[in-house]
């Protein structure tokens, strides 16, 4: 999860989309998802339009569609429920290849599937073009609660430290003959988790002392100069304008 290093959801690059300030991209992504959700589910061609719109952004950002598609499978566990809907929904029904399917169920499943997928694709596009710490800077500039941004910043830094510590403790346990395959040995693992909590807590204290020593006053200082210009907002939000047009088209069509 280290910034500046390979993160599985980030594709480093220098395209105009990558260079766009993070807060613009966050706002654009959220608004675009709102447009997708607001589009009536029966307006089938409009969803194709949304996909084309995202495709255009991928071209501009130089993201191969296959790269996005592989990461989009993260969605699968969440749409399992949608597959059940056509079988459990109410009348009227249609018979397809000898299987009786509920029509509202089919529509409901399509609704979850298409909107979920477009939402995931939008988020992946944001993640692919924006490093984690830039997202945090963007949130701070959007006046997200300071405490939340600070906690997220510290997590970004310390998750790996704590995972490495847990790994070392595990190796030390195993080296002394611990074999965590059996249920009756879960006690040692549990105590390890307890020890890890205490260690992390103590580290938290020491980090806080070190921060106080460098003049920490409870809020993250602004580290980078520069403001986001109106032109950047205009360019960044142009896909949203297309999204609004698509959503409106959807309402007109149905």
């Amino acid at each position: 999860m280290g910034a500046g290093h390979a993160h599985p959801l980030h594709l480093p690059g220098t395209s105009p989309v990558h260079r766009m300030p993070a807060e613009v991209k966050i706002v654009a992504a959220v608004l675009l998802v709102v447009c997708v959700v607001a589009t009536p589910r029966e307006a089938f061609p409009v969803f194709g339009g949304f996909l084309l719109l995202l495709g255009a952004v991928w071209v501009a950002a130089g993201i191969p569609p296959g790269w996005i598609a592989r990461r989009a499978v993260i969605e699968l566990p969440f749409v399992v429920l949608a597959v059940l809907l056509p079988f459990t929904g109410e009348a009227p029904t249609v018979v397809w290849l000898g299987v009786t399917l509920s029509e509202p169920g089919l529509l409901g499943a399509w609704n979850i599937l298409v909107k979920g997928t477009l939402g995931v694709l939008t988020s992946l596009t944001l993640a692919a073009t924006t490093p984690m710490r830039e997202l945090l800077h963007g949130m701070a500039r959007l006046h997200a609660p300071t405490l939340v941004v600070t906690i997220a910043t510290l997590m970004l830094r310390y998750v790996d430290v704590i995972v490495a510590e847990a790994g070392r403790m595990r190796v030390a346990r195993i080296s002394r003959g611990h074999d965590p395959r059996f249920l009756w040995q879960v006690g040692a693992t549990a105590r390890g988790v307890g020890a890890l909590f205490l260690r992390s807590y103590e580290r938290g204290e020491r980090v806080h002392l070190a921060m106080l020593s460098r003049g920490w006053t409870g809020r993250m200082p602004q580290l980078q100069p520069g403001r986001t210009s109106a032109a950047q907002w205009l360019v960044g939000l142009s896909p949203v304008a297309a999204g609004v047009a698509l959503a409106v088209t959807g309402w007109v069509l149905t």
Binding site: R157, L209, L212, R214, G215, L223, Q224
Partner: protein, 256 residues
């Protein structure tokens, strides 16, 4: 003395000593005494090693220097300013503490952001931060690593970045807590090169006696919460009785 007064005297070249500790006592909440009347003085530009065995009270003393812990009795003055509530922020700018574990000190996602954190807190304008960061990273030979995560640096590099985060605040006195611990011999020597080049007032807490000898002409020995010796490092290290009494030991084969 007030901050403005101190600055006026600094301009006249009559700056007070960087650090004055007088009759400092401190007991842990359970009543166990950690410091029992510590007194010491570090002049401007001096490099002093603070030696002592584990549990002598060294780290407790360090935490008093910038007001993280407050004196039960006695006083601490930094450049004439008493360490205390009214100008704690100014004190913390003037006392730069480099903690023992760089993972405690480096908490930002990138090196450059971490180095900028201190100066930004102390009011350096945003457009001057980059210059401060560059200067501090250059001073520790880490210029090429500004956009990396501290997590991906070696132990020695992390230690030098931790030093840079404090140098960027331009402190009056640099306080190093066990700077050579957990470093391999090359990293230890590289850090010594960097520290030797700095012309900052320095208080180096350590039980690495050769390191103290290499970097600090003067040493203070702290044991059981009191100062038991204060003098030229070479003379102190030549006194085997003194070393033995206070659980200090030169490495095998090391003679003076």
């Amino acid at each position: 003395m007030k901050p403005a007064e101190v600055r006026a005297r600094e301009r006249l070249g009559q700056a007070p000593p960087s650090l004055e500790v007088d009759g400092l006592t401190f007991a842990y909440p359970d009543g166990h005494p950690a410091l029992r009347g510590v007194g010491l003085r570090v002049e401007r530009g001096e490099r002093v090693a603070l030696l002592g065995p584990n549990g002598a009270g060294k780290t407790t003393l360090v935490l008093h220097l910038n007001g993280i812990l407050t004196a039960a009795q006695g006083s601490v003055r930094v450049a004439g300013l008493p360490v205390g509530a009214p100008h704690l922020h100014e004190i913390r700018r003037r006392v730069g503490i480099v903690f023992q574990d760089p993972d405690d000190q480096l908490f930002m996602p990138t090196v450059a952001e971490d180095v900028a954190f201190g100066p930004a807190n102390f009011g350096v304008p945003t457009d001057q931060l980059a210059a401060r960061v560059d200067a501090a990273l250059a001073a520790v030979d880490m210029t090429g690593h500004r956009d990396r995560s501290p997590l991906h640096l070696s132990g020695g590099q992390r230690r030098r970045v931790a030093l840079a985060t404090v140098l960027a605040c331009e402190p009056e006195i640099l306080v190093l807590d066990e700077p050579s611990s957990n470093l391999d011999p090359v990293a230890r020597r590289e850090l010594a090169d960097v520290l030797g080049r700095l012309d900052a007032t320095m208080l180096m807490v350590t039980h690495d006696l050769p390191y103290a000898l290499q970097l600090c002409p003067r040493s203070i020995v702290l044991d059981d919460g009191v100062v038991v010796a204060d003098g030229p490092t070479r003379e102190l290290l030549r006194d085997p009785d003194l070393l033995r009494r206070h659980r200090l030991e030169l490495p095998y084969g090391f003679t003076l």
